[in-house]
């Protein structure tokens, strides 16, 4: 979530290159955290495989379309996603009844997977901010299983878009490898101890920080629009 703004705002790397680097980091996070969730049984494999088929399709399509999409609307779209994730972060998760699992409306779930993949491929975000609520609310997975399944899915989703960026020459290899290693180590640690750090003040502080980043992205979007 923060890699794209950090790279594009602090280092001056172009937005599309920052997205490409972020996608590699997202894949690394998934590689590092998925084994923990898989071993704990927090990945619903049948749903993951089905969801992933559509999200990979969306991400690949977005990756192929990226060169013809102008950067300015992407800044605004990114700000919207950041603000949405702030709202999600401040709202406590709804506890789902593990024994009562609703039959997912397949078309709605598949459309959500496609959209989440496309957003991931365009903006370089993990998609967890969208996947987890979709898996929880539409597919009826308990929140922790939805989060674990989302982590597993987003690795391949991000990888599909990142491979397109890579073969088009948009990935700065040094930055991608460095970010991937850092993100991978962080995600592995968080997957192991994350459930012990459910502090409300931490979520609030992070939400405030994301809001500031969203505002900076909006300012950059307007800056490009006025040029």
């Amino acid at each position: 979530m923060l890699i794209v703004p950090a790279l594009s705002l602090l280092t001056g790397i172009a937005f599309r290159e920052a997205v490409a680097v972020s996608l590699v980091a997202v894949a690394a996070m998934s590689v590092s955290a998925s084994p923990v969730f898989l071993r704990q049984g927090l990945v619903d494999i049948p749903i993951a495989i089905e969801f992933q088929f559509f999200s990979v399709f969306g991400a690949a399509a977005a990756g192929l379309m990226a060169p013809v999409i102008p950067e300015t609307p992407l800044y605004f779209l990114f700000a919207v996603v950041l603000l949405y994730s702030c709202v999600r972060m401040l709202k406590p998760p709804v506890a789902a009844d593990a024994n009562k699992r609703p039959e997912a409306p397949r078309r709605l779930g598949n459309a959500a997977a496609l959209g989440s993949g496309a957003l991931s491929g365009l903006l370089g975000v993990g998609g967890g901010v969208l996947n987890t609520p979709v898996l929880h609310l539409i597919f009826g997975l308990p929140f922790r299983v939805a989060a674990g399944t989302s982590i597993f899915i987003l690795g391949a989703t991000a990888a599909s878009a990142a491979l397109i960026y890579l073969f088009r020459g948009d990935v700065i290899l040094g930055a991608a490898a460095l970010t991937a290693v850092g993100a991978g180590i962080g995600a592995g640690l968080m997957a192991a101890v994350g459930h012990r750090t459910e502090k409300r003040w931490l979520r609030t502080a992070f939400a405030v920080f994301l809001t500031v980043v969203a505002l900076v992205m909006v300012r950059n979007g307007f800056g490009q629009l006025l040029q």
């Binding site: 001056g12 898989l38 494999i45 495989i49 391949a156 990142a162 490898a177």
Partner: protein
């Protein structure tokens, strides 16, 4: 505890990627060997790392790990849910075709 071969597979890939990154960095060709003078030069310094073979290997390993892990879990469950193996193969096919289009389109 759930046992799937995807777990050791992913851990091996993560370990290998880390090892390649460390070797690449100490080899004197990685980004860690370049000390950016200040934050403003960071982008330019990171850009210098482009084309580095070791870093390319790290990126490729990380990007191929999850699609392959998905194939591993789909293969393990092929008897109970053969449809999922086909879906996983179709996902890999979509990915391969997309990459091919990207390469051909330049």
């Amino acid at each position: 505890m759930i046992e799937t071969r995807a777990v050791p597979f992913l851990r091996t890939i993560a370990g290998l990627a880390l090892a390649i990154f460390v070797i690449g960095s100490f080899w004197g060709r990685g980004v860690l060997s370049r000390s950016p003078s200040d934050v403003a030069d960071l982008g330019a310094n990171l850009r210098d790392g482009a084309g580095d073979g070791f870093m390319g290997l790290v990126v490729i390993a990380v990007l191929l790990a999850l699609p392959m892990a998905m194939l591993v879990v789909a293969w393990e469950g092929r008897k109970s849910t053969p449809r999922h193996l086909w879906l996983a193969l179709a996902t890999s096919g979509t990915l391969a075709v997309s990459v091919l289009i990207a390469v051909l389109a330049g």
